[in-house]
Subunit: 347 residues, 4 copies
């Protein structure tokens, strides 16, 4: 941490900063320039944060210079991690496709979507039983009934299940059915929920908040990690900007940036980023090319009657092209499409 003194700061002001830092158990190094003085701090940064140095006389600015997250940082963990979900790896070397319906509606719709997913090369099934919707009048998901449908479809297809949880109170229930718990964009700073999934003993898919910085995203992951769970996969799903031609703006640069800052795998959701079916395949290509560890896409057997986000779901006619894409493109970048684990394939 660096404290920048203003040009008007007195020697007493500088001494006061040094004193308060040393009292807090830190060390302070003073560098005097012609017009300004800066004080470098060494020690427990969280503790310095509570000193409110910014309020002291003569202080112009306080600048943080180390990452505020520790467990998910790559600084102390240079090798990139692999997270396994029901035996399926997500991480460097592979490209994992997760696919399924946005929302679970009926057993038949879910099974057919899962078959589409499998045909496309997916090794994990996505599908929402609890849906956070902007309108209280919109379909909110089937709840536990939806979880049971997902479990049935897993038994039928062998695909482990990724599903969202929206309330700390539901974590245990959802974890009893799911192979991976998804935290959605609207809950990216729902800290109670992050802590609850941190204790649930299941891998977590953590979507970036729609207005969350990359640093806040990693801090959210740190909340989960701090409860003892490091099986976290980060998911870039578009951020909110002034541009309205797309539902969100896919921040494709966030993939390499997050991979450099954190050892956790990073995947991309091209369906929710663009919000348009015609953008899903181009954005999937971009995600794989930029180095994402996986892609999660919406598919639906009858998108014209989907109860949620039908406008962005891929349809039967797209599956063949998606399958070709995820098979042929990863090898160009030194990766291979993740294969279903044998044990599950027999399920």
């Amino acid at each position: 941490m660096v404290v920048v003194m203003g040009p008007e700061a007195t020697e007493a002001d500088i001494a006061a900063v040094v004193s308060i830092v040393e009292t807090a158990g830190g060390e302070a190094f003073v560098s005097r320039g012609v017009s300004r003085t800066i004080v470098g701090l060494v020690g427990d940064v969280e503790q310095f944060g509570s000193l409110n140095l910014r309020r002291m006389n003569g202080v112009r600015d306080v600048i943080r210079i180390s990452a505020p997250y520790k467990l998910v940082s790559r600084e102390n963990h240079p090798d990139r991690s692999v997270v396994r979900v029901g035996g399926v790896p997500i991480g460097p070397g592979t490209m994992t496709l997760i696919a399924g319906p946005c929302a679970v509606e009926t057993p038949d719709q879910t099974l057919r979507a899962a078959q589409m997913a499998k045909a496309a090369g997916a090794t994990l099934l996505r599908g929402g039983a609890f849906k956070p919707r902007t309108s209280p009048y919109a379909f909110q998901g089937l709840g536990e009934q939806g979880l049971k449908i997902l479990a049935d479809v897993r038994a039928e297809t062998g695909l482990p299940v990724v599903t969202e949880v929206v309330d700390a109170h539901d974590v245990e229930l959802v974890a009893s059915y799911a192979d991976m718990l998804q935290i959605g964009t609207r809950n990216a700073q729902n800290f109670s929920l992050l802590q609850a999934v941190g204790e649930a003993g299941k891998p977590v898919l953590l979507k970036r908040g729609m207005s969350g910085t990359i640093e806040e995203w990693l801090m959210a992951a740190e909340y989960i990690a701090q409860r003892g769970n490091l099986d976290i996969v980060l998911c870039e799903r578009g951020i909110r900007t002034f541009e309205k031609a797309t539902r969100n703006t896919l921040d494709i640069s966030a993939v390499p940036v997050a991979q450099r800052l954190s050892h956790l795998p990073v995947i991309v959701d091209p369906s929710h980023s663009g919000g348009r079916r015609d953008l899903v395949l181009p954005l999937t290509r971009a995600a794989i090319a930029v180095g994402a560890d996986g892609v999660i896409v919406d598919v639906h057997p009858h998108p014209e009657t989907a109860l949620c986000d039908g406008a962005q779901a891929l349809v039967d006619g797209d599956v063949r092209e998606l399958a070709r894409l995820v098979r042929e493109l990863p090898p160009v970048f030194g990766r291979s499409l993740t294969q279903a684990p044998d044990a599950l394939a027999m399920g």
Copy 2:
């Protein structure tokens, strides 16, 4: 709702749209132009939403023309509402000051902050016992112990208490101590929590999401209202933009816009908007001048050692100016500073 057909749409495409709308129980009016045709829909908009008209052949765009919120809308409720909190009104005609520490730290700090608040003219006490913090390593609040401190300070000062709840599971507990439940910016789309406070039987202070549109903010209020609670006060607290000179960008225009769209009271948080003590008084003046029904500010007896957001808290030396401001400015705009209810003043 209006369906805009593309120039390439055939008569069959248009007929298909009309047919699906009529099947869903709506009416469709076709207007043919030289290069385009538009179809106006009348009926249950939520149901049309699930038709995925946007996916039909020949459809270029689907445009919603009525507000998606009903209970909080001013369309069917032209008079602006007054919400009462422990007997203190918030609404047209008055200007209510809510003040207190960002976080409850100790009984003494809370009492002294409440005395500062009262001296400034506040009739409601704010203070957080459950604090949502970006870092898991930062102070997270005292929990129920903090609620007890707030209750004690209420008994001592007569100020009803506004405090945040961050988890649906805690709503009953917090409601047993608080006079008003606050939903923070990070939970503005935590729909489980919104529903839970909608059933708690206490007024709600609903902060706007830091990246929430005004429409989304009103939809969040609709979630609460739908559970039977219309005692909702909206709070503009700054939105996230590219500008980093302030912590957030206070969207001052949102006050008159929200007041025009909804009958609910709208207040402003100048402390969290700017994130800087030197901006609190100027932004308070702007808030009152623009027509806000109230203002909520952070005060702290010792901001230099505050455990949360000390840099933005007003100090003893600011109280006199704040008091003058909230007493003298509202009458210029036809409002008066809310007075403490007698019953409570005697408490």
Copy 3:
């Protein structure tokens, strides 16, 4: 400037940084911590900028700690400036109203708008002869004919003229008619134009870029100042954000922030910020309350047929309320409405 070395930096890396800084004529102070070292630089910051220190081995970050603008900064010029336009002051102590039509359309329309402006208490007339329009098919202004109309209306009403210039090549022409040159938001980083108006010998009204930071706005002012012209008035006119309920988001906090960083006067444009007539008066009140040195508003005798931005212009029925507002509100904040200079009033 502070150079933050990474944990992996060697002594040789640190020595290299020190050496390159000293070679460039600066001084470098090294502070060693447990896990990191920081190097404080003193000297010519612009020159250090070209050293590309960020690219050197072991360097993690380079942080600038002094303002990159000098002439417009308040650091070396603590008193706030007054800019005079045709004898009319803009600055501390006064509140100046600038009003007129968005675009000059006809002599009659301009005269009537000027009379509305005067009736409202304006002492300066705004009106565009050169209009930057997003569409090449929209009305682009009358050009020199519009300037002549403005000069005629000035002669008739005594109101000095503020008008936009959009091309460096036109600066001389516009300056020969206008009392103040306006730089619009789309030209906030048109550096050729900024330099040209810096040399034109007339005061400048500099609108903030719609996506410009406060720092970039002050840098744009520095471009003008560097050519010898310090008669610059800054104008906050709303920034571009995700919120679409208003045309732009008025950044009301930018007024006190810019006044603290720069000695230049700062005014507000409530018409272009909100883009809605119903927001003009509330935002004008907020602007005066926050401490703006002036306000610039669109008025039009027949907004329903205006060729530009009719939806945001005040009409006859609003003038009385605006007049009352700008007369009664500034004294509440220790300012008085600027009066027309006698000499001009007789013109």
Copy 4:
């Protein structure tokens, strides 16, 4: 265009809208619903725009339903265009690499950068002689001397030259040296400049404004096209958002979206988007994968002493990897790297 009447609109209000539209030469179709009426307009939209329908009694909203640009739209020109620059094609079927130094500094630096560009597979040379810089104290480019250096290097290497013009007054001069004129992000709404390059008889590289919507970008292109020049290449270079980990946020989705709306070629600038050398290659891969018609990158023989944007330039060590990438990746997506035209190769 669709006019949405409010629930309070009377028959007279509706009749007034129909009347004003018909008077302006348009047609109006009225659709009456249970709670609302909508009026569809057919005719000259620009003219309707000046009617200010939004201000009429009973009107709630006015919605535009056709693209405001015509010449650059794909509606009337379904085949995607190829733009030729000094014989080098940019468009569908090919992937064109443009490379060179951000700024021309010396003959030697420019020649060496051009040789790096050529080694990487570039067929066009970029390089700025006129540099728009945020600070007036930063290097502003060599001007005509820089243009001469570019011409000499073209003679030596055979690479046609792309260079920026920042002032309408300089267009003729720059066009006399350059093969393609570049409009930078800060001038994306400098309409005088757009019109001037529209008349210059040279292809134009049009960067997107850093806060420009895709629609505004296409409107800027329309300004150029309207002056008779349809040889326009669109360049996505990142937009301004709240995220500060990268210099700008590359809006990768804008590539397919713009290609769907317009017949013009669309390329990507990964150097200015990310602002970091380590992101250039990943973003180049994403750009090619998403379907960009070309990529423009900064290269510099000595980035550590570059006078402009050294932190984002590729260096000698990156050239081999870039060369491999642009040769091997386009064929995966049905494109081939553009080859240098023979005539020029001999130049």
